[in-house]
Amino acid sequence: MIRAALSALWSHWRRHPIQLLTLVVGLALATGLWTGVQAINAQARVNYDQAAATLGQDRLPRVEGPLTLADFATARRAGWPVSPVVEAQVPGTGLRLFGIDPFTLPQGAGAVVPDLSDPDLLRAFLAGRIVFAAPETLPRLPADLPEGRGLDGLAPGLVMIDIQAAQQVVGTTDITRLLIGPDAPDAPEALVRLLPGTTVTQPEADGDLARLTDSFHLNLTAFGLLAFVVGLFIVHATIGLAFEQRRTLFRTLRALGLPVRTLAVVLIAELFIFTLVAGALGILLGYVIAAALLPGVAATLSGLYGASVAGSLGLSPVWWLSGFAMAGLGMAGAGGLSLRRIVTMPILAPAMPRAWARAQRRGMRIQAAVGGVLLLLSVALAVLGQGLIAGFAALGALLLGAALLLPPILVVVLDFGAGRARGAVTQWLWADARQQVPGLSLALMALLLALAANIGVGTMVGSFRATFTGWLDQRLASELYVTAADPAQAGEIEGWLQGRADAVLPIVSAEATLADAPGDVFGVADHPTYRDNWPLLQAVPQVWARLAAGDGILVNEQLARRSDLWPGDLLSLQATGPLPVIGVYSDYGNPQGQAILGLATFDAAFPDAPRLRFAVRVPPDQAADLGAELAAAFDLEADQVVEQAAIKGFSLAVFEQTFAVTAALNVLTLGVAGFALWASLTTLGTMRLPQVAPVWALGLTRGQLAVSDLGRALILAVATALVAVPVGICLAWVLLAVVNVQAFGWRLPLLPDPGGWLALGGWSVVAAVLAAAIPAWRLWRIPPADLIKVFAHER
C-alpha cells in the first residue's frame, strides 16, 4: 500500500519535472544565499577573534614609546611580567610582521602561538630561520623572509617571527611595545616611571573588531534573510501547486484505504527528502557564493576597519548543520500549511479547482486587509518604536504588508487597464493578466520584495555615498596629514613647517569616558579650517569662538543621539568637569562617541596626550611637493605623510568596495525573484492551454499568442515595479531614519535617485521578459495538434 502510494505520489513529479526542478532549486537558492552570507559572517568573526586574540593584546595593557630590548630586560628585572612585541609592515606585501618572545609571551585563552616543542624548531625559530603564518598567508610570503611554516588560527596576513629576527628584518633595535601580562606587581603607570618617555595604553575599548564591523554584517545578514524569504516564496508556491494538483490523487488513495496518517507521513517523508537534497545543494551553493564574495568582503573589512579576514573559507560542522536546519525550516514553513489542508480534508471532498479559485478571490480580500494592517503596524513601529528590533520589525511589517497588498493592487490596476482597452486583443491581454494574478502572486510578491529591497538599499547607499562624500570634503579640509614618530620629532616637524605651510594644526586626542561609555576626545585649534568646514548639525551662535574660549564642548551625532545630549545640555568629563554642549557634528563610520574641546582646554585636561599628528594647510598645488620634502627631511614613511586626496580616494574606494558586495547580493536576490517568476510562468504555461486555445481558434496566430504572453509578463512586471518604488522608498527611509540611527547612531538624509529607480524598473522588465521568454517561445512553437486537443471531446 505504502509502496503503491509512494509510486503514485512520485509519478506526479515525473510528469512535472519543471515543478520538481523549481522546488529543489527554489529551496537550494534560499538556503544557498542564506548560508553563503552566514559563511562570510562566520569567517569574518573567526578572523576577528584571531586578530584580537593574537598575543592576547586586546585584553592586555601595554607600554609604547621609545623602547629597546634592554628596556624590556630592565622591566623584567624590576618584576614586571612584560613581553616585547615588534610590529611592522612588510613593505609591498600587505603583511604584518609580529615579532614575539616565546619565553615571556603572556598566556591566555585564545592566544595562537606556534608549537615549538620540537627543539630543532625552537632553535630555528629563535635563530630567525623560520616564521609562522596562517596557511593561506604562506603563499604571500616574499622570498626575502625566512621560510614560512603554516599555523592554523593565526590571523590572515600576520607573520609571526622571533623578536630578534624581526628586529633584523625591520632593521631596528627598537621594539614596538611591551605587553603587560597578568599578575603585574603595580599599576601600569608605575612602569612608565621606570621607562621614561613611554605611555601606557589600556586595553582598547573598541578593540573588539566584531563590534566595529557589526554594521557591515548586519547589512549582509539582512540581505541573506531577504533572499531566504524570497526563495521560500518559490518553494511555497510550488508545494502549494503540487499539492493542489494531486488533490484528486490524495482523495483516490484515501478512498482506496490509505489512512490519512500514513498519507501524511508519506508526504512528510517526501518533503524531508526534498529538504535533504535541496539543502545539500543549497549549502554547496552557499559555499560557492561565499567563496566568490569573500575576497571582496575581505578587502572591504581590511580597508574600512583594518580587520584582517582570510580570503578563503574555513567552515565548521555547525555551519553545515545550520544550512540543513534552514532548509528544513523553510520547507516546514512552506509545506506545513498545504500538508495541514490535505490532512484535514474530508475523504470525499471533490476536487474543486473552481471553488478553490473562488476561495482565493475571497482570500485576496482578507489578504488586502491583513496587508493594510501590517502597513499601519509598520508605520506605528517606525514612529513610536524604540530600539533596533523595532526598526527591523517595522521593516519586516512594511515588506510583508506590501507583498500581501500587491495582488489586490495588481487586480485593481489590471481591471482598470482592461476597462480602458480598445482592441479585442488588448482587452483580452489585460483581462488575462488579471486572471493570472492569483497563480503568479507569490512569484510577483517575491519580485516586489527583491525590487523594493534593491530600491531601498540602493537609495540608502546612494544617500550614504552623497552624504559621505560631502562630509569627507568638509572633514578633510587640510591638504596634508603628518604623523611624527615621537614627541621630539613632532616638535621638530612643527618647527620645520613654520614658514613653509599656511598653518600647522595639531591633532590631539585622548581616550575618555563619555556619558558612561568609552570614546575619544579631540582638541582642535581655533582656526578657520574648522570654522569654515567642520560639518555641524546643530550649534549655538559663535560656536567656534566659545569652543576656543573653553566655554563648551562639541559632541558627535552618535553621542548626541545615544545619550540625548544636544546644545544646552551638560556633558561631564572626568578631566574637565561639566561642560555645556555647544554643537553636534556628523561623524559617519565611527561607532563610538566622540567629543571636541578647544585646544587649550584639551591640553589642560589631558597633559599627557601624545602630540604626534598635524593637519597642514598649504595651497593645494604645493601639497605634494611639501609632503615629499617633509618625508625626505625627517625620513618619514609613506603612511606618516598623507595627502588629503589619498585619504579621500582610499575612503571612497573602501566605500565602493563595501557596497559592491551589497550590489552583488542585490543582483542575486533579483535573480532569485526572476527565477521564481520563470518557474511560475512555466508551470502556468502548461495549465493555460485551455484558455489560450479558444483565442487561437478564433483567429490569432501562435506568434501573436506568444507576443501577448510576453506582453502580459511585461504588464505585470511594470505594475509590480511601480508598486515597488514607493515601498522601496519607504524601506530606504526606515533604513536611514530608524535602523541606521538605532544601529550606528547617525541619521542620513534621504536623497531620491529616480535614475536608479528607472534603471531598476528596466531590470525588472528584463527579468520578467527573460522569465517569460521560454514559456512564450514554447507557445510559439507548440504543435497545433496540442491546441486542438483542448477541443477534442475524447479528452
Binding site: 481558434a697 478564433l698 497545433p784 477534442a792 471531446h793
Partner: protein
Amino acid sequence: MLISVRDLAKTYSSADGPVRVLDGVSFDLEAGRTLALTGESGSGKSTLLHMIAGLDAPDSGRIMIAGRDITKLDDRGRAALRRSDVGLVFQQFNLIPSLSVADNLSFHARLAGRADPARQTDLAERLGLTAHLDRYPEQLSGGQQQRVAIGRTLAAAPALILADEPTGNLDEATGDSVLALMLDLVADSGASFLMVTHSARLADRLDARIHLSSGRIA
C-alpha cells in the same frame, strides 16, 4: 459552392503505430445550406471539421472555401481564415474565462473587424443573455455558456459556421432548445453550417448528412 473537399487524407502516429484518420474524403457544401457530419467515435469527423476550420492541415487533398484552397495557407493565412471566414462552436463552449459575457460575445466580431453593437444587442436578446452580460463564463450554466459561444460566432457574421457536438455537454432538453435556437439564427444569417454529431436524431434536423466510418464516407 462554398465548401469543396477532395481526397482528403490524414494520418496520425499513435502508440500503436500510424492511424489513418481520414482516407480520401470528398464532399461539397452549398452556400446557405446545413450539413450534419456523423460517425462513431474515432471515425475522423472532428479531424475533418478542424481541417475545414483551418486549425489543422491534411497530409494530402484539397479543401476549397469560396474558391480558395485553404490547405495552401500558412499559419498567418489560416489564422486570418479563422478570424474572418469561419465561426466555431465547441462541445466544451471554450469561452474566454477572463472576459465578461458581453466581451466574449463581441470578441470574435471585433477580431474580424465586424463589430456591430446593434446586432450584438439583438443576438443577446434572442439568446436570452441580456441579464447576464456583466457576468463571467464560470458563473453561467452549461446551456447559457453554449448560447454565449453561439452568440460569439454569429456576432462575427462568418460565411461558414462549424459546430463540434455543440450540445454534447448539455442535457437533452437544453441541447434541443440550444440547437433549435442555433439553427434559427444560422438560417437568419444566411451562413453555411456544418455540424459534427454522433446523434442521428440531431443530424435529421439539418439539410443533409454524410456519415464517416474509419476515415471514409460511408
